[in-house]
């Protein structure tokens, strides 16, 4: 992929650090990936692997004591890390938008749904400087609501009158209201029932395809990832350990961590003994260089494993010391 004509999201050596009194926590430590326009990437990993930190950094919503310490985030050709604060504020929603984790807490409890949808549109002056009538506003709201399969009557409701799935749909309506190029969805369905989860994800997928937007899905549910994504990025201790097309990763996982992650999942196919992943991820504070996965098994590789493309688009961080685990 040549960088000059690349369409989509391209992240290069991104670093997000948290400065703490005890030292620097490298929550995202040198992550790179390219996501072509219209494709879906899912980021998976255990709690604390840095996937949510990465998704917030993509929106440039990293909060102190966190900071983006280095790297680039290219949207098509422009590095959004070069934008000033006001430009970035305008880029959110119109170019890159967020479907937050737990829509329950992200909607304003004292505003009607229609006002929350219109809020972002007014702010970005979607209607221009001309005064538009209430009817025109309402027709835009209804159009967005019907795109997420909600009834027009929802416009006049407050968040507490909606179910969890409906709230998540409202969040999707807001996120797609300005046809963004990239949608970042941080565990969008983690609090929903399976049937609702499926319908919400199908709605999100349909809208994303219609907009030809790219989507970055953050989640720990490997099942959802297998069903929804085109590419999977597996994160461990702030680094990407494997990245590849979904079929290839699930069929032939190359990194030991991915293998153990997939094996720990219960299936409906056959009953087996459960195998969890032994140990815990390392603390990220003052993490020494070298392979972070080796330490979980009492092994040691002082050299940081190289990031290699093994087969087409299928990358792993290749460490010879722990590569046999889980085989």
């Amino acid at each position: 992929m040549t960088s000059s004509s690349f369409k989509g999201l391209r992240v290069k050596d991104l670093q997000v650090y948290y400065d703490t009194p005890e030292g620097v926590v490298k929550a995202v430590d040198g992550i790179s990936f390219s996501l072509p326009q219209g494709k879906r990437l899912a980021l998976v990993g255990e709690s604390g692997s840095g996937k949510s930190t990465l998704s917030m950094a993509l929106m440039r919503l990293t909060r102190a004591p966190g900071r983006i310490a280095g790297g680039n985030i290219f949207l098509d050709e422009d590095d959004i890390l070069d934008l000033d604060v006001e430009e970035m504020r305008l880029a959110r929603l119109s170019k890159i938008s967020l479907v937050p984790q737990g829509a329950m807490n992200s909607l304003n409890p004292v505003l009607r749904i229609k006002d929350q949808i219109l809020d972002g549109l007014f702010d970005h002056q979607v209607f221009g400087s001309k005064k538009i009538t209430k009817d025109e506003q309402l027709s835009k709201v209804n159009e967005l609501l019907s795109a997420v399969e909600l009834l027009p009557s929802v416009a006049d409701m407050y968040p507490h009158e909606l179910s969890g799935g409906m709230k998540q749909r409202v969040a999707i309506a807001i996120a797609t209201s300005m046809d963004p190029k990239v949608i970042v969805a941080d565990e969008p369905t983690s609090a929903l029932d399976v049937v609702v989860q499926r319908t919400v994800m199908q709605t999100l997928g349909r809208l994303q395809e219609g907009l030809e937007a790219s989507i970055v899905l953050v989640g720990h549910d490997m099942g959802l990832v297998a069903q929804f994504a085109d590419f999977v990025g597996v994160m461990y201790a702030g680094r990407m350990v494997e990245l590849g097309p979904v079929n290839s990763v699930f069929e032939k996982p190359l990194h030991p961590y991915t293998r153990l992650l997939i094996r720990s999942l219960p299936t409906l196919e056959n009953k087996e003994d459960f195998v969890g992943i032994p140990g815990l991820p390392p603390p990220l504070l003052n993490l020494p260089p070298g392979c972070t996965f080796c330490t979980r098994f009492g092994r040691e590789n002082k050299n940081t494993p190289p990031w290699k493309e093994i087969s087409k688009d299928h990358w792993i961080s290749e460490c010879e010391v722990c590569s046999d685990i889980g085989k």
Partner: protein, 290 residues
């Protein structure tokens, strides 16, 4: 066969009194369940939010009383239990709840949740004996006592916190463990470890387990029998192999079809939800053996 814990046609409704403007909500509608003394097994109670599964769990624990029907422990109605009987019931039927953090007092070390039941039920006469019991219980759930004791709840991971709760339940040598969504707040990779320890308790120690969950995959993996609830009504029940591999009720079929399986080749969501919607209210099929 004598029954250990038995729910006989229990119904529980909320609201809808003479002065209430709201309609009566039947949370649990005419449901029966039986655990036998001789045959300890794992029963999964599965359903989505609003299916009544947690209400059923609360009825079985005697935390609320049914409007109709009864819950009996060793043949004695929970409603009529007093004094020692009630204490024995409280010791022998142990709950494990969803949020492992909510069960702790953040100011006390985790030792507190382990030692206080020993004290309250006078299970040990000496400090040394109590310490041995606690260590044994922790080891049974796969925790290392020296790495666990003496810590504050926030210093443990979610999975460790939940395993300490399982250890606490074990200390009381219960005959039944009622686990209400024990792993839904825990990382997917840690679920396996916790459920594995629950399964071992059943197989090795002969403890009956009622596993309340919305997750049919884990229910399939650890249970012997399953009950599928929808809007308070039992839609289908039977051995897991029968119900999961060959679901007959449209609701069970929809649930299974909606599970995202970790295999990109098994496509998800083949059923059209708008078409199945009316079928979901079809009456339950009851117990199925095949």
């Amino acid at each position: 066969m004598s029954s250990l814990l038995q729910a006989k046609n229990v119904t529980k409704s909320f609201g809808g009194g003479i002065f209430s403007k709201e309609e009566e909500l039947i949370a649990v509608n005419d449901i029966s369940l039986n655990l036998e003394v001789e045959n300890p097994k794992i029963i999964a109670v599965a359903g989505e939010s609003g299916s009544g599964k947690t209400t059923l769990a609360r009825l079985l624990l005697g935390l609320i009383n049914p409007n109709k029907g009864s819950v009996e422990y060793l043949g004695k109605n929970l409603k009529d239990m007093k004094g020692k009987e009630k204490r024995d019931f409280r010791r022998e039927v142990q709950p494990i709840f969803q949020d492992p953090y909510g069960s702790y007092n953040p100011f006390y070390k985790v030792d507190h949740v382990l030692y206080s039941p020993i004290k309250n039920f006078k299970l040990a006469s000496k400090g040394e004996e109590a310490r041995k019991m606690v260590e044994k219980a922790l080891e049974l759930v796969g925790l290392v006592p020296s790495e666990t004791l003496g810590r504050l709840p926030h210093q443990l991971s979610g999975g460790q916190r939940q395993r300490v709760m399982v250890a606490r339940a074990l200390l009381l040598q219960p005959r039944i463990i009622l686990a209400d969504e024990p792993v839904s707040a825990v990382d997917a990779s840690l679920r396996a470890t916790i459920l594995d320890s629950v399964k071992k308790l059943n197989k090795d120690l002969g403890i009956s387990v009622i596993y309340v969950t919305h997750d049919l995959t884990t229910a399939y993996q650890i249970s012997d029998e399953i009950m599928i609830l929808y809007k308070g009504v039992l839609k289908e029940a039977g051995p897991v192999e029968v119900v999961i591999k060959n679901p007959k009720h449209p609701y069970t079929q929809l649930l299974i079809d909606s599970i995202p399986q970790a295999n990109p080749k098994l496509k998800w969501g083949k059923l059209d939800i708008s078409e199945t919607q009316e079928l979901l209210d079809q009456p339950g099929l009851g117990w199925r053996d095949s």
